[in-house]
């Protein structure tokens, strides 16, 4: 039948254009990257098993508290946000939840070689050292000491956090989320000087970047955006999912409503179409 042939031609060319300007063009502009690696294989694994008790001693004598607060153990941050921004460029994290949200291997590698774990070696050097000083050990086996510190952080961390709390500890030192009225504590001028550019507000990032992109990007920013000054933060899979969930809750708050309403709108139009068709058949029967 002629109408169907014509419809097939129209659908074919429409689909061809759609394929060309959407999936095909995007695959050319944003080449596919390997999926997120939550084992952080490039960092290797620390062979030692940590002891939390020993870790507590090591943590205190290693100088961590010179910069970091540990509020679960009643150790406040040594500086207020303004002073810390001025000294470091960004407010150092309180480590209370580090054991829950960051990967164990990643934390160990970070303590030993911060710029390597963070993947910011292109930004920092001996002449411009990273504000987090590498841990050189307190006299014993360094790998054992690091494993102990990580075990200690894991032992004191809360058992679970809300999505927003994970976001606050993982992202909020640099990023604002103004649609949820939460703002970075770091001074903006210091942050801009430290990062080279002001880290973007994340309110609409879920719509701007999509879930898929964020999954690989947060896991390893260099993979999607080579040269970016955003560090790899080392979130484990669960924590990263919580961050993305939170971003979706803020940036795409009406998603559930949209998904639900879609069925109703389409259903309404299907009924309309059916009735219109029956009416059309009735009307045209007289003239054909």
């Amino acid at each position: 039948m002629r109408e169907f042939k014509i419809l097939a031609v129209v659908v074919f060319f429409t689909a061809l254009i759609y394929w060309g300007v959407e999936p095909f063009a995007h695959s050319q502009m944003h080449p596919h990257v390997a999926p997120a690696d939550f084992a952080f294989k490039d960092l290797g694994a620390n062979p030692k098993t940590g002891d939390a008790k020993a870790g507590e001693q090591t943590f205190l004598s290693a100088g961590c508290t010179g910069c970091h607060g540990l509020s679960v153990a009643n150790i406040p941050a040594p500086m207020d946000a303004a002073a810390a921004s001025g000294s470091f460029g960004v407010v150092p994290p309180d480590l209370s939840t580090a054991g829950l949200i960051y990967d164990r291997n990643y934390l160990a590698a970070l303590i030993k070689e911060p710029t390597k774990a963070l993947k910011v070696e292109h930004k920092f050097s001996e002449t411009r050292p990273h504000p987090m000083i590498a841990f050189y050990g307190v006299g014993g086996d360094i790998d054992q000491e690091i494993a102990d510190i990580v075990a200690y952080l894991q032992s004191i961390a809360p058992k679970s956090l809300s999505d927003k709390e994970v976001y606050a500890d993982a992202c909020q030192r640099c990023h604002d989320m103004k649609y949820d009225k939460v703002f970075s504590a770091t001074d903006k001028t210091a942050l801009k000087a430290y990062m080279g550019t002001l880290p973007p507000d994340l309110s609409m990032m879920i719509r701007a970047k999509s879930k898929d992109y964020l999954e690989t990007f947060i896991n390893n920013p260099q993979k999607n955006l080579a040269g970016t000054s955003m560090p790899r933060v080392g979130l484990n899979q669960k924590a990263q999912e919580q961050v993305i969930n939170y971003m979706e809750k803020v940036g795409d708050r009406k998603k559930a409503e949209r998904d639900d309403l879609g069925y109703k709108l389409i259903g309404f139009m299907l009924i309309f179409t059916l009735l219109a068709y029956l009416w059309k058949v009735k009307v045209w029967r007289e003239v054909h």
């Binding site: 002629r2 109408e3 014509i6 419809l7 129209v10 060319f13 429409t14 061809l16 254009i17 759609y18 060309g20 300007v21 959407e22 095909f24 063009a25 050319q28 502009m29 649609y179 550019t197 973007p200 507000d201 309110s203 609409m204 990032m205 719509r207 701007a208 970047k209 999509s210 940036g251 708050r253 009406k254 409503e257 949209r258 998904d259 309403l261 879609g262 709108l265 389409i266 139009m269 299907l270 309309f272 179409t273 059916l274 219109a276 068709y277 009416w279 059309k280 009307v283 045209w284 007289e286 003239v287 054909h288």
Partner: protein
């Protein structure tokens, strides 16, 4: 003055004052449309429906939108998308309809080309239609700027810059259009005015003229069958409905259109709720930042073919800068469709393309070339892509240069009539 009597009812009361019965006949029940048509003839009504959807959704958006570079992004993405009840729906509907309406415009336009509905008395339909296409393009471009996202800003930057290539007055013209030396608040405010007032007004007026221009030459049909509309209409009114070659606009023609509109809107609402990224580019959910150029700048899909004609000429020829050649080609691409009725020299033949020995090849080559231009208009113009773009842009121009020649040949050989 007419003799006014006591009315027998509301219709009669109105009829005595406004002649509504005659009006209904002229516009609806005795406005004759050929019977021998297919669903492509429903695209005009689909366009009217989509345009109404755009106006209604636009009015709702207008209640909350703020045309100020410091407020625009948040008024769209926070106030409308999150705070206002169903604000997201109006925005998605508006954004998706703006994109879909161009698809239907292109189908409508290529239907006109295929069935030769732009000539032999139908030139004014074509000319007003192409004028509508031009104003719709300006409407789409100005609307795209309003959310003040990254692509809003950078597209505005690139497109307004194009006017700088016009000889003599170029640089001053760019400043005049922008209202500032840069794309800035003044630019946003004036494009807002264009988008919500001047251009829609022009569109509504032109749509009326477009409809009116159909009245005298009548709608074409799919076999280029020429007949006396008055005679066929008489047959229909005498009750010989099956024998008559025409049907009235209401209810017969519209009953079919309602069905096509239903199918179109079913797909439309699927796109609105589940598949909208093609129309609402994710990049535009990042706020405009004049310090951060996006990695890829491209216009919306419906402008890609003409954008690629502009970009296609990427090397200097005989001392003429690539940019100037591109601009000239871009200007050519934007006016040449307007001239179609005068380029087709087989003026008497309104047969569909498949009954024209040379034109049928020309038509499908044009469709393919414009698809190639569209796809490559989005891809980064590097390496082989640049050459594909160049040859496709060249082919586009050549196609229109040879059109008068091949149609003249068709006219001479007599063709099929």
């Amino acid at each position: 003055m007419a003799e006014i009597k006591k009315a027998t009812g509301v219709i009669d009361w109105l009829d005595q004052r406004l002649a509504v019965k005659v009006l209904a006949k002229v516009l609806m029940t005795e406005y004759w449309i050929p019977k021998n048509i297919n669903f492509l003839w429903a695209m005009g009504v689909v366009l009217v429906v989509l345009f109404k959807i755009l106006i209604i959704s636009g009015i709702f958006l207008l209640m909350y939108y703020k045309p100020d570079i410091n407020l625009a992004f948040d008024s769209v993405n926070y106030t409308i998308m999150q705070e206002v009840e169903y604000g997201w729906l109006w925005r998605h509907v508006h954004g998706v309809a703006a994109s879909v309406i161009f698809l239907i415009i292109y189908i409508h336009m290529f239907t006109g080309i295929y069935y030769g509905s732009y000539k032999k008395g139908r030139e004014m339909i074509w000319l007003t239609g192409m004028a509508l296409f031009g104003i719709f393009s300006a409407e789409a471009f100005s609307g795209y700027m309003l959310p003040w996202g990254q692509m809003s800003y950078w597209a505005a930057q690139v497109i307004t810059n194009l006017f700088g290539g016009i000889p003599l007055i170029g640089p001053e013209l760019v400043i005049w259009i922008r209202g500032d030396f840069l794309v800035a608040d003044a630019t946003l405010t004036r494009f807002f005015m264009l988008h919500v007032l001047l251009l829609p007004l022009a569109i509504i007026l032109l749509v009326a003229v477009h409809f009116y221009s159909l009245r005298i030459p009548h709608v074409n049909n799919q076999e280029a069958d020429e007949f006396d509309f008055d005679k066929e209409a008489k047959k229909y009114l005498e009750g010989k409905k099956k024998e008559s070659k025409v049907v009235p606009f209401w209810p017969v023609f519209l009953s079919k259109d309602f069905f096509v509109v239903g199918v179109a809107l079913t797909g439309f609402f699927y796109l609105v709720c589940y598949h909208y990224n093609f129309a609402m580019d994710p990049i535009n959910f990042e706020p405009a930042n004049n310090m951060k150029t996006p990695a890829h700048i491209y216009p919306e899909w419906y402008f890609l073919w003409s954008y690629e004609v502009l970009r296609g000429f990427f090397f200097d020829v005989a001392g003429i800068a690539a940019m100037d050649i591109g601009l000239a080609a871009f200007g050519f691409a934007n006016v040449i469709f307007m001239l179609l009725p005068f380029l087709d020299r087989d003026t008497d033949n309104v047969a569909p393309a498949h009954k024209r020995p040379l034109f049928k090849y020309w038509f499908w080559l044009l469709v393919l070339d414009m698809i190639v231009l569209t796809v490559y208009g989005k891809l980064p113009p590097t390496g082989p892509n640049a050459w594909v773009g160049f040859f496709a842009a060249l082919a586009f121009i050549v196609l229109f240069v040879v059109l008068p020649i091949i149609t003249k040949m068709e006219a001479k050989s007599g063709g099929e009539k």
